[in-house]
């Protein structure tokens, strides 16, 4: 059991973390103090074009090793300790952020053109795979993840999230059961612009992980949830699926429903998605909320063994495990939607500020 909360402003109006904190703290009983975290989009306007690499290290030496690795492969435009307030949480790793861009000389030297994004994820994976005692937990542009072992309120205070202004916020309250409660295992999981929070268990993890390894992703966070962030990167950024197609690939309708589809063109496309992305399909009980540069979406398993609710008010969409948390974030909700099992809800800012897709979730 875990708790999830999210909010997004369709006008990209920024606010600090107060409301999301209220939303997740209300769901305190959904966690056990062994993990909590937040992701916020739009918080680094001064460095919006640079990859914001957040690093956790168990000791100074590991942090220096990561720093020199980054220096070797990137131009570090700015770096600083992430501000913390450690009156309540005393036992914590070192946290630092680096605003970087790939070294042009290296990128240009590749015989085959390599995109900056691919270059960056490869380096992030290399650090997480090989570096002892340190890992990257956030690597997107103008986005930051803040997470650790503690209650949602404690982690919020620890990272001083009153001081950040973002237009999309995600929050998670963890109740780890199958994997250890450690700083790297807290949610959100992030890669480039993809951040996910997950409630449940991914029973397909074994094959999802083997599938991702075939594309160069390294799963090193000792928990099943991280595969979702990597799958989004693979399916949407690298394979060019739309958000909607990606939700259909990750949480596909049953074969029986696809085969009942009346439009043969739609049926063939859905079948192809299911056949090609069989190993990417998520199985098991899950409710997942994902943030990306231009929006947010939720998916659940086909039997909806984990809750997800959506609220709408003004130009905002709210997501949470519990309806009460929606009202905690916005008492004046215009509408509350309970997505049916397997039904994705998508807010895509690319479709313009008028987009109200979450209001009419994709129907199966």
């Amino acid at each position: 059991m875990c708790g999830i909360a999210g909010l997004i402003s369709r006008q990209r109006v920024k606010e600090n973390g107060k409301r999301i904190k209220q939303g997740i703290v209300l769901q305190n009983d959904r966690g056990n103090g062994l993990g909590a975290g937040y992701a916020a989009y739009g918080i680094y306007p001064d460095y919006a074009d640079l990859y914001a690499i957040h690093v956790m290290a168990m000791d100074e030496e590991s942090m220096l090793e990561v720093q020199s690795y980054l220096q070797e492969h990137f131009v570090i435009q700015h770096m600083e300790d992430i501000p913390i307030w450690n009156r309540v949480i005393h036992d914590h790793p070192l946290v630092k952020r680096f605003f970087v861009e790939p070294k042009e000389s290296i990128i240009k030297a590749f015989p085959v053109p390599v995109s900056e994004d691919n270059y960056t994820i490869e380096k992030v994976m290399a650090i997480n795979d090989r570096q002892e005692g340190a890992f990257v937990f956030s690597s997107g542009k103008d986005v930051g993840v803040f997470k650790g072992v503690g209650t949602p309120a404690d982690i919020y205070d620890f990272f001083c999230l009153d001081d950040y202004e973002g237009y999309t916020w995600l929050a998670h309250n963890r109740f780890p059961t199958n994997t250890p409660g450690w700083w790297g295992g807290a949610h959100p999981f992030n890669l480039l612009g993809w951040s996910i929070v997950h409630n449940g268990e991914i029973s397909s993890y074994g094959i999802n992980r083997r599938y991702l390894e075939g594309f160069g992703y390294k799963c090193r966070m000792q928990t099943d949830s991280e595969v979702v962030a990597y799958l989004l990167d693979l399916l949407i950024r690298r394979h060019g699926l739309t958000i909607e197609e990606a939700t259909l690939a990750l949480a596909p309708p049953y074969w029986a429903s696809v085969e009942r589809e009346k439009d043969p063109e739609v049926e063939q496309r859905l079948l192809a998605l299911k056949i090609i992305y069989e190993s990417a399909m998520l199985n098991g009980p899950f409710a997942i909320l994902a943030g990306f540069d231009n929006g947010m979406f939720s998916i659940t398993d086909n039997t909806k063994l984990r809750p997800m609710t959506v609220g709408l008010a003004d130009d905002y969409s709210y997501f949470a495990s519990e309806v009460s948390a929606l009202y905690e974030m916005e008492p004046g909700l215009e509408r509350v939607i309970t997505p049916r099992a397997g039904q994705p809800c998508i807010v895509n800012l690319d479709h313009g500020a008028e987009s109200r897709e979450a209001e009419a979730p994709i129907t199966r």
């Binding site: 449940g200 394979h239 699926l241 199985n283």
Partner: protein, 517 residues
């Protein structure tokens, strides 16, 4: 230590009966004479002439010859009074650590016959069966199991060449045409018309058609009566090219090039002339009563380039139907499989050490090849490492006994599993391993007109259907108790499996953790 025997110094006396060690059966029928009424059905049903009817005190009685009983249990099942059971015809052999019963009997038999010892079915040795040392996971608390009686539990499987990503699909119609949809990940293994009879093939074909599965022809051609089942048949092109005609190359749903067989890797096949009866001669397109010899290698395939030529020749001739290449699991199977996929195969059929056969030298069956579990794990990993796993489906075969074996194979990475021996057993076979004799008392591996009549097509169809339905329910149960509603999330998901009593080396080849980890 036992004392050496004290031998008489007298030379042995010449006797009338010359003893022939080896010509003695290991089993014998036992008759309950208080029940038997001497009707003689047992003597008629026994195709090995083990039972003869004698007259004792004016009464007809069955008598066992004790020379040819192989424990097929046909007499036991057909005796209307239930007066027969089979016992081991045990010899009190002095125990010996090296010269065990089976080793001794083999020598006696060969000394008596002077031939290569032939046998049927798959290896019956004590080589580890890794399926028995693998256990499944199950849901507890954090991930609820799913009840297949209440929720959808899907086992739909697509075979053939897929794609790495949706954008790689240029023509979606073409993409779908190249794939075969199965209702569950089980197909019928190739068994040729000749090695089995038309009745049995017909039963498999009917079930495959009804259940949305595939059956494989084996290297015996496609009998004209089976053309109605062409939409679910994988037709074989093997080293003898039997039955391969223009029509044949258009008829199948897919084609299989047979390179090797798990029961006899590296050797060919031989259907003796006396078994080449009318139907077989016509279907195989060879003269009546001529030996049908399948050479060990395909004589137009001496290298991987040659295989590529044949794959594409068949694709061209068949209108681009999927092509499957069947190889036996041998030491270097992963590298071979990679080559086969790169040569253009859309499916790779792996036949393991325990794979069955209608006739194979037992020395080859029992001593050549590797178990399917290891071969499958190695091939699946190798194709993934080389980023070509999407290009071909893996069919795993060779000693699959139950639905748990099927699901373990799927979790190790198989797209689909092929069953052969299990189908024979479903239709009465008792694994007496005398398929090559052509005298199968159950009417399965025989084309003798009288014996093959014993296998009723409708009955066999029902038995096979029952078996598959039972397995299907069990497979869904295993998925559900793992909280997985779609077989796709089971496939290659080795975290579901744990090994028991396996070495680190074995675990690492299988790609699974040990129980307790």
């Amino acid at each position: 230590m036992t004392q050496p025997e004290v031998h008489s110094s007298n030379p042995p006396q010449e006797t009338q009966i010359r003893p022939e060690p080896g010509l003695r059966s290991a089993y014998r029928p036992v008759f309950d004479m208080s029940v038997c009424d001497g009707c003689g059905i047992c003597a008629r049903e026994c195709s090995f002439n083990e039972i003869r009817m004698d007259t004792r005190e004016g009464k007809k009685v069955p008598v066992a010859n004790r020379r040819s009983c192989g424990a097929c249990h046909r007499c036991e099942y057909t005796c209307p009074l239930g007066a027969i059971h089979i016992e081991e015809n045990k010899m009190a052999l002095r125990p010996h650590g090296v010269w065990k019963d089976s080793a001794m009997q083999r020598i006696h038999l060969q000394a008596a016959s002077g031939a290569v010892a032939l046998t049927g079915l798959g290896a019956d040795t004590e080589v580890p069966n890794y399926f028995d040392q693998i256990l499944f996971n199950a849901c507890q608390v954090t991930n609820p199991s799913i009840d297949p009686q209440r929720e959808p539990m899907e086992t739909v499987t697509y075979l053939g060449r897929k794609a790495k990503s949706l954008k790689d699909v240029e023509d979606i119609q073409h993409f779908h045409n190249a794939l075969i949809r199965l209702r569950m990940p089980v197909v019928f293994a190739p068994m040729s018309y000749g090695s089995i009879n038309l009745n049995f093939q017909k039963a498999m074909a009917r079930v495959a058609q009804k259940k949305g599965l595939l059956w494989y022809s084996g290297e015996g051609g496609l009998h004209k009566e089976l053309y109605p089942y062409r939409d679910c048949v994988v037709l074989q092109v093997a080293s003898g090219r039997f039955g391969v005609s223009q029509e044949y190359l258009r008829a199948g749903r897919a084609y299989q090039i047979k390179i090797g067989q798990g029961a006899k890797p590296g050797i060919g096949g031989h259907l003796p002339g006396e078994k080449v009866l009318e139907g077989i001669s016509e279907t195989r397109m060879i003269p009546l009563h001529s030996d049908a010899i399948s050479p060990a290698p395909q004589h137009d395939i001496y290298s991987i380039e040659d295989l590529r030529l044949l794959i594409y020749a068949i694709k061209e001739a068949s209108g681009y139907k999927p092509v499957c290449v069947k190889i036996a699991a041998v030491h270097n199977v992963a590298a071979i499989a990679s080559g086969v996929v790169r040569a253009g195969a859309d499916m790779i059929y792996l036949d393991g050490y325990r794979g069955g056969s209608g006739a194979t030298p037992s020395i080859v069956r029992d001593h050549v090849g590797i178990p399917i579990e290891l071969a499958l794990a190695a091939v699946d990993q190798r194709l993934r490492d080389e980023h070509i796993r999407d290009q071909a489906s893996i069919v795993a075969a060779g000693g699959i006994r139950n639905s748990a074996d099927v699901m373990k194979a799927v979790a190790l990475g198989a797209d689909v599993v092929a069953i052969g021996t299990a189908c024979l057993l479903a239709c009465g076979c008792h694994a007496c391993q005398r398929c090559s004799s052509g005298k199968c008392p159950w009417g399965i591996t025989t084309n003798d007109p009288d014996l093959s009549q014993r296998l009723d097509v409708d009955w066999a169809e029902e038995r096979l259907t029952n078996l598959l339905e039972g397995w299907h329910h069990e497979m869904q149960e295993i998925m559900g108790l793992n909280g997985i509603y779609d077989i796709g999330s089971f496939r290659g998901n080795r975290l579901i499996l744990r090994g028991v009593g396996l070495s680190d080396r074995e675990l690492s080849i299988l790609g699974i953790q040990h129980a307790g980890e």
